[in-house]
């Protein structure tokens, strides 16, 4: 004697409008918090909607209104700690604007970026935030013609499609090189990732080498890796590079995690850091705050980058001017405990 399935199709505005005895249009207005509805009707409608368990269909809404409240965010990875931090800045900026971030991941592949971008753009977002300035020609074209604000983030070394928020990785690398030289190190090794599409790491190294070059110094040894636990890789690479080039007095890592692995290895092997060997990483990840010795690094303002980028999109969505914005932030050198005090 159970009642027959009370309803199978999902509810529409019409159902609510019938239940509340008003037009669909009025229901629509109430549900979008439009101004011009009397308190009484509003109440009746909300009650009816809640009672029925109505969930609006944003697909129909978006088609009719020609706008979504989605912001596309395209990043290389989620396991690289750095990007969740950017996302948190984006969320913070979007909170309360009615805009919602939708994340796509490229795995550091330009082709995959193109695919993801195409998928995402076909949902007609209100804006796009994408990591990096390097894209396939097709991806660039899509963004140029999308008609929505595009913000490229993380990197400012190159030509932007529309707006940019980031740091100059070339300058960051150069600055670190100068700090290392100023501290009196001169036999320098580099340890990094082997990823052709990680342009920021590449630019950092270029800037680093250029600045060393100005002082007549060159990188004496390099070690690359890909995949695996970064901390562990940092250990292994450190052992390897010091095995091959025992006279090195400084190791520059392309990110903090491998740098931390190197630091642990040195500690385990009784190597005097920063006396015998100095170490530095890149990013300033908070995660490492618990280590007994603080790795020298460069904070890259990830949260702020996300926040500023999302703010640009939000401002445009709110009807602000469509002029390209360019924000270059200053990464902050954090000497930590693994680089000798200069002088």
């Amino acid at each position: 004697m159970t009642p027959p399935n009370p309803r199978r199709r999902t509810l529409t505005l019409r159902d609510v409008s019938e239940a509340a005895a008003v037009s669909e249009m009025t229901v629509s207005r109430v549900l979008r918090n439009s101004d011009d509805v009397s308190a009484a009707t509003r109440d009746r409608v909300l009650k009816a909607a809640r009672a029925l368990g109505y969930v609006p269909n944003k697909i129909a809404g978006a088609l009719a209104s020609q706008r979504t409240h989605l912001v596309t965010v395209i990043i290389p990875s989620l396991s690289n700690l750095v990007f969740p931090e950017v996302l948190s800045g984006i969320s913070a900026a979007l909170d309360g604007t009615g805009l919602q971030p939708v994340v796509g991941v490229t795995n550091y592949s330009a082709d995959r970026e193109e695919t993801v971008l195409y998928e995402m753009l076909s949902w007609r977002p209100s804006g796009v935030i994408v990591a990096g300035l390097e894209h396939t020609p097709a991806a660039r074209a899509m963004m140029l013609h999308s008609g929505v604000p595009i913000v490229e983030i993380m990197d400012t070394d190159g030509e932007a499609i529309d707006s940019v928020v980031g740091i100059s990785h070339r300058r960051a690398g150069a600055e670190m090189a100068r700090a290392i030289l100023a501290a009196g190190y001169s036999r320098i090794g580099f340890l990094g990732t082997q990823m052709p599409d990680d342009h920021r790491a590449r630019k950092r190294l270029e800037g680093f080498e250029a600045a060393l070059g100005e002082a007549g110094v060159r990188v004496r040894a390099r070690e690359f890796y890909s995949g695996g636990s970064a901390l562990l890789k940092g250990r292994e690479m450190t052992e390897a590079i010091l095995g091959r080039a025992p006279d090195l007095d400084f190791l520059y890592y392309s990110n903090d995690m491998i740098g931390a692995g190197g630091l642990l290895w040195c500690q385990d092997h009784g190597i005097d850091v920063p006396g015998h060997v100095g170490l530095a990483g890149f990013n300033g990840v908070e995660l490492l705050d618990g280590f007994s010795r603080r790795l020298a690094t460069m904070d890259t303002c990830r949260r702020e980058i996300g926040f500023r980028a999302a703010s640009i999109i939000a401002a445009r969505a709110a009807g602000g001017p469509a002029d390209p914005v360019r924000v270059e932030l200053e990464p902050v050198l954090q000497p930590g405990d693994t680089i000798r005090r200069a002088g």
Copy 2:
């Protein structure tokens, strides 16, 4: 003498259909790889679409076809390492199915979960994957009536809405307790997060205490934290708990990161681990593979959980049976180097 803005509105099927001199319907068929189109027309259409830079409007498509290819994924956090791992399993399972994950983050708040869920469901996804079994009544109701497959993940201790894939955190806690007792420890402290909505951590502790209780042992001291760098918090809490209760011989941490912080603190302070104090965490995060000593932990099969959950959705989307699936995985105890060998 620049040409006037060649086109402002975004392109539609009609534009492609005119360019290729076929009906909109044929274009639609080509773009969806439908079967019945001659190779010649297909070619002409694709060429035209590419030349124009046409990007289909999925909003219109979804409205007309009454289906999206979106899978909603709702997780508490992205900075907790564990969830990106789940996501990677989900992506792997969805790859090639035409389904696309869309992530929402709740920050461990049930209310926020309800909001996010409402937003997401209003996009009419093909399925929902949500972390945990505890939801607000309204959220539960929404999922029950959504008409799409729901998979609750991570936890199996409770009643599911539809399908579940996870581990029993109660049993995981109990198993760890038994391993600790078997290794001969008996003066046990617990260190964890103070988050009312982290039900899995709560269940783990419950299971842990229940199993200790069976042996007549109780937890002698507790220490809680919230926010901040987990590694650093682990250090601070370890110092605090051992200050208050110096006779403890085992510290059980509710996650690996604070456990690792504790391990570092012990190392820095010359405390014999696991002789004087044993340590264990939870999750089995790969990140820690680079530490000199491996923290005892319990691997929770996060990638597999994501993979299995997404596979359930994919199977249903492909027309499979709609029966609820229940998958309980076995977490694996990894004794590492921080717990004495039993016996």
